[in-house]
């Protein structure tokens, strides 16, 4: 299969995934919630509520609302937030938050890689020793500990007790450290396990034995021969990890008052701001679909066996 043909098919698949997600979100969000109630004071009269509902187009039949939504979307109009200051277009409000979430996701991934890869290598090299055991325990803990709990503990210890970092917000690089670590811990566990198993598998192969037999130093064997091959599945996973970190940063964003897209989605759902929910989900779904696509494409480019298999 030609690369461009393959890419086109994957793009179409990604488009339908996003379309399906958005359609589900559109209808599900309208099954619960009455935005007009939240937009007016608690004791607003029925007439006032009706007026707001009419102005928001919520009195139209659901299919008409859906048609209008798709028509606007086709023209690049994601809708106008009902609650953003000045009635900003939803996509504008998402812009800075998406950037913040991306920043946090990348930082989390850096933390995860920085901890997981050396630990995974060390655990594989010292297989069956206390170091291996400790690394695996750390991996289990990283996967088992809820992000919000870890985040709160880190706030109390590093921010309140030691005063090294701020307790929340997004003011400067110091504010990024704790949420990035809290977010990265979960992925760290998965990457560490994958690195370890990959290394163990590679270290047992013929070409590693050959490399050693040639008299190469252990450092060269590990870094130039074993690691490059062992990290191939890890690299593939990183793309997916980034998608998971971006999509799964909601709790961390709330705990650390990080102004990201996850928090925006939660707030918008709570406030029944349909245009903002829809636009946020579109952006999120599209970014995850795109990341997956990039991973698939890069994997195809990196691993000649995939290309050969596809051909």
């Amino acid at each position: 299969m030609q690369f461009w043909h393959y890419l086109a098919i994957r793009l179409i698949q990604a488009f339908f995934v996003v379309f399906l997600v958005v359609t589900i979100v559109f209808f599900v969000s309208r099954t619960v919630g009455n935005p007009e109630v939240g937009l007016l004071p608690f004791d607003a009269s029925g007439a006032d509520l009706e007026r707001v509902k009419e102005n928001l187009g919520l009195n139209d039949p659901l299919l008409v609302q859906y048609g209008n939504f798709l028509w606007d979307l086709a023209q690049g109009d994601f809708g106008t937030s009902w609650r953003a200051a000045g009635g900003a277009p939803a996509i504008d409000a998402i812009g800075s938050r998406a950037l913040n979430t991306f920043k946090l996701g990348v930082a989390g991934l850096v933390v995860a890689i920085a901890l997981a890869v050396p630990l995974g290598i060390l655990a594989a090299l010292k297989q069956g020793t206390a170091i291996d055991w400790l690394a695996r325990v750390l991996a289990v803990i990283g996967q088992a500990v809820p992000g919000f709990w870890l985040g709160l503990m880190m706030i109390f210890f590093f921010a309140v007790e030691l005063g090294w970092f701020p307790t929340g917000g997004a003011d400067g690089w110091r504010a990024l450290v704790l949420p990035a670590i809290a977010l990265g811990m979960l992925e760290m566990a998965a990457i560490m396990r994958l690195t370890r198993s990959g290394m163990i598998e590679v270290l047992d192969t013929d070409f590693i034995r050959t490399a050693r037999a040639k008299g190469l130093s252990e450092r060269v064997v590990i870094t130039r021969h074993a690691l490059r091959n062992a990290l191939l599945p890890v690299v593939t996973m990183l793309g997916l990890s980034l998608g998971r970190l971006i999509g799964g940063s909601v709790i961390i964003e709330i705990v650390f008052a990080w102004p990201g897209i996850g928090r925006l989605i939660i707030d918008s759902i709570v406030q029944s701001d349909y245009p903002m929910v829809q636009a946020s989900i579109i952006v999120l779904a599209a970014s995850i679909a795109l990341t997956n696509l990039l991973v698939d494409v890069s994997y195809r480019l990196i691993d000649p066996r995939i290309r050969a298999g596809a051909a």
């Binding site: 009455n34 277009p89 409000a93 709160l152 309140v160 008052a257």
Partner: protein
């Protein structure tokens, strides 16, 4: 000593009258004695000289004796009257002490020489709406962040909840016409407030300004729907400027509660500059508010913070004595958003945040004895259970048991309110016994006692048996999901406790959680005749006037009314109250209305929970009085110690 309010005055008046009656009765004994002594016999003797002389002598003696007796009686009466006066004074002193003690619960501003007027304060809040146009539906909820940018026409006095002049000093010309002198207050852009701005502001929030009819001509991309104050623009028939300083307003009918509800309600009722709004447009106003308030808006970052600085030319001086909501005792104010409670608390502990508000008593419990922080409780609304009295039958077709007064009384006797307060509210809070709280004219403690339903399960079971429900009955008890966010952190536990207590007397309540987005809609609490039969856990905020609560949630026409009074005389009383403008008479009528509503047990009364604020020890956040936080913007009155 602080000023007296309606109710303390009424207490004084009532006690004075009662004491006078006691005094009168005591004096009456003396007077009766005096009368008896004074009733000498009308002797009818002959006119013999001797006899006459003797008689005259006797008469003199009698007269002397009588005079002596009269003198004694007079002295006795005087002594009794003095004693009665002493008693009265003692009682008045006791009352004054009680009032002082009550007012001492509410922290007062520090003297200015103890305040760092150049300080910066950081307040932490959980959420806000991003729009800043207080007159636009969807943005008005930003009151905590932006309330201080605006002034209302009037303000609520934190001590007694009465409406006091602010930008306007209104007076009634007749029962439907008010005329107000408008203060020449400067806006933040240097222009001066005129009566035309008042007219414009009310037309705008009432949806009458020409430029945004139906949101069709606004430049706001999200459309523009006015907030429309509680009583609604339909209740005004005329709103005009007589001249630059005189504003005239005419109502469709008399409304004794108009001042507190429609002139002083902070939030929707914010006075804006006509030139500014028309010049910049709705969208710009929704991004950067401009008013006459004590703080000038500096900036806002979505989901992060809002920054303000003191408006040095505010029309009221910093030491304005009446209400704490006016002054700006710090130079800079930043409001930061921290959605997660523990993160907010951590921010306070780390010294990044100076004050937090709207916390549950369970949240602040660990800080109560910590010298580094100050915990302050304030009165807030109340939690009650609304009984659906619209439905004649329950889900299974059986008659609605709560239509029987005895069942409603039984439900009220089933609740151990003090236990709820002790166990869930740190012992702080009060038993709820009336439909509203925090209003000007709240019934006295004596009146509360009069209709209080004691915790008496035996009595409850007896009433159930008397009503024919000895074996009990099933009933759903609805509550909003995320009850902790709606009713306070203790809400879910309280609902569970109430469910068990009702079950104990045979009212087999079954807790049913409804998504919050549905709970306050026509499907449930707004449903009236369409609402499902059962019980509804419900909270009510403090309100400035009984009318807004009656008209929304308690009276037969209220859109939130689930327990319409079965006795029509109650609504007749409210209708009479609504047009009554005499303050003293209104107070009496409010009392009568609330007491009668409580006696008929239209709600299952629960508690008036406290709301707590938490500040760093060097920060004072004065409440000023029981009504101090009513307008939600005293956050701007924080003081940092020098």
């Amino acid at each position: 000593m602080s000023e007296r309010n309606y109710w303390t005055s009424l207490r004084h008046r009532k006690i004075s009258r009662r004491t006078m009656l006691k005094a009168s009765s005591k004096a009456g004994v003396g007077a009766a004695g005096l009368a008896l002594v004074g009733c000498g016999g009308d002797d009818d003797d002959d006119d013999a000289a001797t006899a006459a002389t003797e008689q005259a002598e006797e008469q003199v003696e009698q007269a002397q004796a009588q005079a002596q007796a009269e003198e004694q009686a007079e002295e006795q009466a005087q002594a009794q009257a003095e004693q009665a006066m002493d008693d009265e004074q003692a009682e008045e002193q006791a009352e004054e002490q009680a009032v002082e003690a009550e007012e001492a619960e509410f922290s007062q501003p520090w003297p200015l020489d103890q305040v760092d007027l150049d300080a910066s304060i950081v307040a932490g809040i959980s959420s806000r709406q991003e729009g800043t146009d207080m007159q636009r539906a969807g943005s008005q909820g930003n009151v905590y962040s932006h309330g201080a940018v605006f002034n209302a026409a009037m303000e609520i006095d934190p001590v007694d909840g009465s409406a006091i002049p602010s930008l306007a000093a209104p007076e009634w010309i007749d029962p439907v016409t008010l005329r107000a002198t408008v203060e020449p207050a400067p806006f933040h852009d240097g222009s001066i407030l005129t009566a035309h701005d008042m007219v414009f502001s009310y037309d705008r929030m009432g949806g009458r300004a020409e430029y945004h009819q139906g949101g069709e001509t606004t430049d706001h991309p999200g459309g523009w729907t006015p907030t429309n104050p509680t009583r609604g623009a339909e209740s005004w028939v005329r709103n005009e400027a007589v001249d630059d300083r005189t504003w005239s307003f005419e109502l469709a009918g008399p409304d004794g509660g108009f001042f507190p509800v429609n002139l002083a309600r902070v939030g929707e009722v914010a006075i804006v500059s006509q030139a500014d709004v028309e010049g910049r447009g709705d969208a710009a106003v929704d991004q950067a508010p401009m008013g006459t308030g004590p703080y000038r808006f500096v900036s806002q970052t979505a989901d992060e913070n809002s920054v303000f600085e003191r408006f040095e030319d505010h029309f009221l001086p910093v030491d304005y004595p009446v209400t704490v909501s006016h002054y700006a005792h710090n130079k800079h104010l930043t409001v930061v958003l921290r959605p997660e409670l523990q993160s907010r608390l951590a921010g306070l502990e780390a010294g990044e945040i100076d004050l937090l508000e709207s916390l549950g008593p369970d949240v602040v419990a660990p800080f109560v004895d910590d010298p580094e922080f100050t915990v302050q409780f304030e009165r807030t609304g109340q939690l009650n259970i609304y009984i659906n009295l619209w439905q004649q039958t329950m889900d299974d077709g059986s008659p609605n048991p709560f239509l029987d007064l005895r069942v409603r009384q039984a439900a009220n006797h089933a609740i151990n309110r003090q236990a709820l307060i002790d166990n869930l509210l740190l012992g702080v809070g009060q038993q709820s016994m009336f439909a509203f709280s925090g209003i000007g004219g709240y019934p006295t403690a004596e009146q509360k006692q009069e209709v209080l339903f004691d915790y008496d399960p035996e009595r409850a079971r007896a009433l159930m048996a008397e009503a024919g429900y000895a074996d009990g009955f099933d009933v759903p008890l609805y509550i909003a999901e995320s009850a902790e966010s709606v009713f306070g952190s203790f809400g879910p536990d309280m609902a569970l406790a109430v469910e068990q207590e009702l079950n104990a007397v045979g009212i087999r309540a079954e807790l049913r959680q409804i998504p919050i987005s549905e709970y306050f809609t026509d499907a449930y609490t707004r449903g009236r005749e369409n609402a499902p039969p059962g019980l509804f856990f419900f909270g009510a905020n403090t309100v400035p006037d009984v009318g807004s609560m009656w008209e929304c949630c308690t009276g037969p026409d209220g859109f939130f009314t689930l327990s319409p009074p079965l006795d029509p005389s109650l609504d007749e009383l409210y209708q009479a109250l609504k047009v009554e403008t005499d303050a003293e008479r209104r107070t009496e009528m409010v009392t009568q209305l609330l007491v009668e509503h409580a006696r008929q047990a239209y709600f299952i009364f629960l508690v008036e929970p406290p709301r707590a604020s938490l500040t760093a020890a060097d920060v004072n956040w004065p409440l000023g009085g029981p009504f101090g936080r009513l307008n939600g913007r005293t956050a701007f009155a924080a003081q940092r110690h020098v």
